[in-house]
């Protein structure tokens, strides 16, 4: 169960690294100086490739390969865009990086920008992250003043600058093409692919989009070499990954683990302090809310891309939401369905209409008006919504609900047949006053 703080370097350094000086004291910007001074862009790209780093936003696409999709001979300017929208429920790993270690992200972006030949980068940060945006703005300004951004960075003749752009609070703007639309000042809705952003992205120019955690992993990779990174974890899941644990655990928070070395049980019960006294484990959405739910029998699954996939879910964003037996899986599913109905952008028919319908059916169940034929209807809906849309939002809406009905069918059947959505959601006040568990 080795823990590592390569992305979360501020933890190893035991202090926040929000200023250029503190960051430098912890070895910051050395990778930048080394790469821009000694390496060609292609060599740097190869380092990314060789490290095996996979995109940490959710899809897990190899970062180096994605970067190599940008056409080398493009006439248009290239762009680097950092996805800091972090809107996946239960996910707050990027927030800590931006709050406590913003320069590592900036350094990572300069490295990625240099590797792909971009001179302009954007950080698209979710609107709710106002405090983090202030920190990033200050850090970008400080980096610029210290010569790590702007023209002729660290005397290397390399130009690269960053602009922070705040979103306005839409889940869909975390989807890469929806993000680009929003960044261009338009309504945030996904685009038809192909063309992929690598070919036709921001302002129809070749664009590399990466998550905060992905980009922040680049400086240690360059510093320690790609083999160091690839040596950790499993063959298909190299390196470290930050998991954000929330829900019914006693020590919620971010935990950076080496992939494949830690099981879900260890993450929940050892690192995150386990459940509250007297409670037993019920369910867990391990990769944010858009992935199939896991039950008790999955607790010994190692945390890496392939093992989680074998267990029927996805590593996703690493936003691990834990629910103990005080929660109701039907209500939880309804809550998730409401979220996706609310966040559906409305572009594709199946998502726009289907997410609302799923919510309606679950609401009926919770209201005691469920019917046994609703199970058949829901199955049909899953098929009619899943895999039919432009982007993955609808798939993400289907996954937690379809898996919940499959894994916890008894709970659903009980709610439908007994007409009672038990138990009610718990509030801490009620529990402390010994209040009702059922109502």
């Amino acid at each position: 169960m080795p823990q590592l703080n390569s992305v979360y370097r501020h933890r190893a350094a035991d202090r926040v690294l929000t200023t250029v000086d503190t960051y430098r004291l912890s070895g910051g910007y050395l990778a930048l100086e080394k790469a821009l001074g000694e390496m060609t862009a292609d060599e740097l790209l190869y380092v990314f490739h060789r490290s095996g780093l996979r995109g940490r936003g959710g899809a897990g696409f190899p970062m180096g390969r994605k970067a190599s999709f940008l056409p080398k001979d493009a006439q248009l300017a290239k762009y680097l865009v950092c996805n800091a929208d972090e809107s996946e429920p239960g996910t707050f790993k990027d927030r800590e990086i931006m709050e406590l270690n913003p320069h590592q992200l900036i350094e990572g972006m300069v490295l990625a920008g240099y590797a792909i030949g971009a001179e302009r980068g954007y950080i698209y940060i979710r609107g709710e992250y106002e405090y983090q945006a202030q920190i990033l703005d200050a850090a970008i300004e400080a980096a610029r003043e210290s010569g790590y951004l702007g023209s002729d960075i660290a005397g290397s003749k390399v130009d690269f600058d960053l602009t922070l752009y705040r979103g306005a609070g839409a889940y869909i703007c975390g989807e890469e093409t929806g993000l680009l639309e929003s960044l261009e000042g338009k309504r945030g809705q996904p685009r038809l692919k192909p063309p992929f952003p690598a070919v036709k992205g921001l302002w129809a120019s070749p664009t590399l989009l990466n998550n905060v955690e992905t980009l922040a992993a680049l400086p240690p990779i360059v510093e320690n070499g790609p083999d160091w990174y690839a040596g950790m974890g499993t063959e298909k899941s190299p390196g470290t990954k930050v998991f954000s644990i929330s829900g019914h655990v006693t020590k919620p928070g971010n935990y950076e683990v080496v992939l494949g070395d830690t099981t879900l049980r260890e993450l929940i019960f050892d690192m995150a302090g386990g459940l509250r006294e007297g409670r037993s484990f019920k369910a867990c959405w391990v990769g944010g809310s858009s992935v199939p739910v896991l039950a008790e029998q999955h607790l010994d699954t190692p945390l890496d891309y392939e093992s989680l996939q074998e267990a029927g879910t996805f590593l996703g964003s690493g936003g691990c939401i834990v629910m103990d037996d005080s929660g109701c899986i039907v209500r939880a599913s309804l809550r998730l369905a409401s979220f996706y109905r609310h966040e559906s952008c409305g572009k594709c028919t199946p998502c726009r209409e289907g997410t609302g319908w799923m919510e309606n059916v679950l609401q009926r169940m919770v209201d005691g008006e469920g019917r046994m034929e609703d199970f058949e209807l829901m199955e049909a809906l899953f098929g009619r919504i899943g895999g039919k849309c432009l982007c993955a939002l609808a798939d993400g809406a289907v996954a937690p609900i379809s898996s919940a009905i499959r894994l916890f069918r008894k709970d659903f059947v009980r709610v439908v047949s007994e007409g009672s959505p038990l138990p009610q959601p718990m509030s801490p006040q009620l529990e402390m006053s010994g209040g009702r568990a059922n109502a």
Binding site: A170, I172, R187, L192, R341, H342, E343, S344, C345, G346, K347, C348, T349, P350, C351, R352, E353, G354, T355, G356, W357, N360, V361, R364, L377, A380, G383, R384, I385, G387, K388, C389, L390
Partner: protein
């Protein structure tokens, strides 16, 4: 609406692919939906609309299975490739298409019995063919208050909307006004305007045709008809010389609707119409419509029968020593031809003239290869010389925008500020300096592969030297072509028949007058015309609407409007196109050609044409430019007439001199302020008026203020009009909008539209 893009299966670039087990062909790169349609397989669609630009892929209705692509893929966005294996009928595809329709109908109100779209609704049709028979949703549907007035002409029913984005894309990507947008998100998405105002514009009505459900309906049309008790007729719009192809909807003897055709004319309007073309039919039902023949005998005015009126017309004209036939700019080829025959035969000592300008120096330009509006698409450089296409020839604007989006360079040169200046390089010239202003454009014409010049007849007639410069530049590039935007709807047709403009007749003794759709008193030199008409003999007017001329006429014979008769108009691009009657017209009216034939009988020399078809056949035999054409060759889409031979351009070395004192006057008209716009009930709220426009600096020098009434005086007449100051207007000139019914700007002009100067004073 054309659901699928036209596919040419006769070309050489075809690839073979497998479609439902059959080997078929289509050009490589054709989108699968179109390739399937061309091979007789319908893939249902909603958001796909080839004219709106790149596919959107939003409705997901066209999911099909393509071997090698995991899952299903949208046929609207997948280009066909050699050896592709496509399945549009498998169980998986059927289930997906059924699924999308079930979801589309989930919240759709299914109020088809009271929906205007019912019976001609793609959502209905495709549900019938591809969708489920019943709904499984037991919850209440989503509701919105309805309908909303999206504009004075367009009703929005948000419950029926299936969020296909067609209307939004039209606004954003075709008319580029950018005002329609989707607000809210997910299931609460609704169409609205970005500004929150009414959705006003020149082309807004097209969103009604584009809407695949009953969400956007025409306020003038709604609740007037059902699709099973109407009759649709293909025709041509006569609101301007663009000649958009239309479909007329007839019910209870009246035109109830005009819309773009299902099979549009890709060389002309591509299915788009401007709002006047769409709703101008209301003018036919306006109170100003002539519904009863009128006789004036001494001081007495009385209504009479059609027969009596024709008899009286024959009587009064036969007794004149000499006569004048005045033709409007929109008479059909047949009407003009028969009128000419009348003048050559039974009418005593007659001369014929039509509205329009002489255009002495325009011959060489007209003799160059004529482009169609559709050719603007393929040009790499489009030079717009003079005019204001957005207001005078509206649908041309959409072509120019499309060309610009495709990467063509647009250069606009002309004497006035105009709507499309932001489309490209704009060179504004002082009156008289057009030739000089063309220098840069001329240089560019020489260096590009496919230059095309769109030119305005009136502005080049005023500056013949510029026409010569242009003709020379275009003549030097073998790939160059020209597109004339004529001022008169059938200007090219009248020219082909050899009818000269009537301005030469104004100073003569007119004798008895036969006016066919003509109203020279409201045109240039109106005062002079009215003097001439008042001092001449009896006037016989054949017209569809009341006018100043019908007020002074001895005999008024109501005739068909262009919605009510058969005939040919030669529109932009020298394209002969057929009008077809969509309605019968008022009981006491008759088609213009028929009245003229009846008149010939009364005059004693009966002309033998029994139909417009036979009159057109005789016209083509007499006019070389029309030879070889007949109604069958014109068909639904029309055909180009022969290019006229270049005429002599001696004396075209300089712009025509301006007459009078003061500032040069530049005029233009707007279809959106013309008679149809003002007479049609549906359009009158958005109709524009007369105005004069000055640069603020010029206004300061002249001591006149914004929004004040000013008086303009020229040697031809006087007019009082409201002033608008516009920093975009050129200094050293006055711009005025003419052509507004009841307006007086035209009276400032000379009958032959010779350039004038005007003095400006506060009224």
């Amino acid at each position: 609406m054309p659901d699928y893009a036209p596919v040419d299966l006769t070309g050489t670039d075809l690839v073979e692919f497998e479609l439902n087990g059959r080997t078929v062909k289509a050009p490589a790169g054709t989108m699968l939906v179109d390739a399937c349609a061309a091979n007789g397989v319908e893939v249902p669609i909603f958001c796909y609309e080839p004219r709106l630009g790149d596919p959107l892929g939003a409705c997901r209705q066209c999911l099909v299975s393509v071997e090698g692509i995991p899952g299903l893929t949208t046929a609207c966005s997948t280009p066909v490739a050699a050896e592709m294996m496509v399945d549009t009928v498998s169980e998986e595809v059927r289930e997906a298409q059924d699924g999308i329709l079930e979801l589309l109908l989930e919240n759709h109100p299914l109020d088809c019995p009271v929906c205007d779209k019912g019976g001609e609704c793609p959502l209905q049709d495709r549900t019938f063919r591809f969708g489920p028979g019943e709904s499984r949703m037991v919850e209440p549907k989503r509701h919105f208050p309805k309908p909303l007035k999206l504009s004075p002409q367009i009703a929005l029913d948000r419950e029926r909307c299936i969020s296909c984005y067609r209307c939004v894309r039209f606004s954003q990507d075709v008319s580029e006004d950018g005002n329609l947008t989707m607000s809210e998100r997910g299931g609460r998405s609704e169409i609205t305007t970005f500004t929150g105002d009414s959705y006003n514009g020149r082309f807004t009505g097209n969103v009604i045709d584009l809407c695949p459900v009953g969400a956007l309906t025409s306020i003038p049309y709604r609740f007037t008809s059902r699709p099973w008790d109407i009759q649709n007729t293909p025709s041509v719009c006569a609101s301007c010389s663009v000649g958009c192809n239309t479909e007329l909807t007839l019910r209870e003897g009246e035109i109830k609707r005009v819309q773009g055709r299902d099979e549009p004319n890709w060389q002309v309007e591509e299915g788009w119409l401007c709002n006047v073309g769409r709703w101008g039919y209301g003018a036919d039902q306006a109170p100003q419509r002539l519904r009863q023949p009128i006789l004036r005998d001494g001081g007495e005015t009385r209504e009479c029968s059609l027969e009596e009126a024709v008899a009286a017309a024959g009587l009064v004209l036969a007794h004149e020593a000499h006569t004048t036939v005045l033709l409007g700019g929109d008479v059909t080829v047949e009407e003009a031809f028969i009128a000419k025959e009348l003048a050559a035969g039974p009418l005593p000592d007659a001369q014929v003239g039509s509205a329009g300008v002489v255009g002495a120096a325009l011959g060489p330009l007209r003799a160059l290869p004529a482009a169609q509006l559709g050719d603007i698409d393929g040009a790499d450089l489009v030079v717009v010389v003079g005019g204001d296409p957005a207001n005078q020839h509206p649908v041309a604007e959409l072509r120019l925008r499309k060309a610009r989006r495709a990467g063509a360079r647009i250069v606009l040169v002309g004497p006035r500020a105009q709507e499309l200046e932001s489309l490209g390089e704009s060179i504004r010239t002082a009156p008289g300096n057009l030739a000089e202003g063309l220098t840069s454009a001329v240089a560019q014409i020489a260096t590009v592969k496919r230059p095309l010049v769109v030119w305005d007849e009136l502005d080049l007639d005023a500056e013949p030297d510029a026409a010569v410069v242009l003709a020379t530049a275009l003549g030097d590039n073998a790939a160059a072509s020209q597109l004339e935007l004529t001022s008169e709807v059938n200007g090219a047709g009248l020219r082909a028949l050899g009818v000269a403009p009537h301005s030469r007749l104004v100073d003569q003794d007119l004798g008895g007058v036969l006016a066919v759709r003509a109203n020279p008193g409201a045109g240039p030199g109106g005062d002079a015309w009215n003097r001439a008409l008042d001092s001449g003999g009896p006037i016989v007017v054949i017209a569809s609407h009341h006018s100043e001329l019908t007020e002074r006429a001895t005999v008024v014979i109501p005739c068909s409007s262009h919605f009510e008769h058969e005939g040919v108009l030669v529109t932009a691009g020298q394209r002969a196109q057929r009008l077809r009657p969509g309605a019968a017209g008022p009981e006491q009216s008759a088609p213009g050609w028929e009245i003229l034939i009846a008149l010939s009988h009364r005059l004693g020399v009966a002309l033998e044409y029994r139909s417009p078809r036979s009159a057109f056949a005789a016209a083509t035999a007499s006019a070389p430019a029309l030879s070889g054409l007949d109604y069958d060759t014109l068909g639904d889409l029309g055909a180009e007439i022969a290019t006229s031979p270049a005429s002599d351009v001696n004396g075209a070395g300089a712009p025509r001199a301006h007459d009078g004192e003061g500032l040069p006057l530049v005029t233009g008209r707007s279809v959106f302020g013309g008679p149809e716009a003002h007479l049609s009930e549906g359009l009158v709220v958005t109709a524009t008026g007369e105005e004069a426009v000055l640069h603020p600096a010029e206004a300061a020098r002249l001591n006149v203020a914004d929004a004040n009434l000013i008086t303009l005086n020229s040697p031809n007449g006087e007019c009082t009009v409201r002033l608008r100051l516009d920093p975009g207007a050129p200094e050293g000139a006055v711009f005025a909008v003419r052509g507004v019914p009841g307006g007086t700007v035209e009276s400032l002009l000379a009958p032959d539209r010779a350039p004038v100067n005007v003095t400006v004073n506060t009224a």
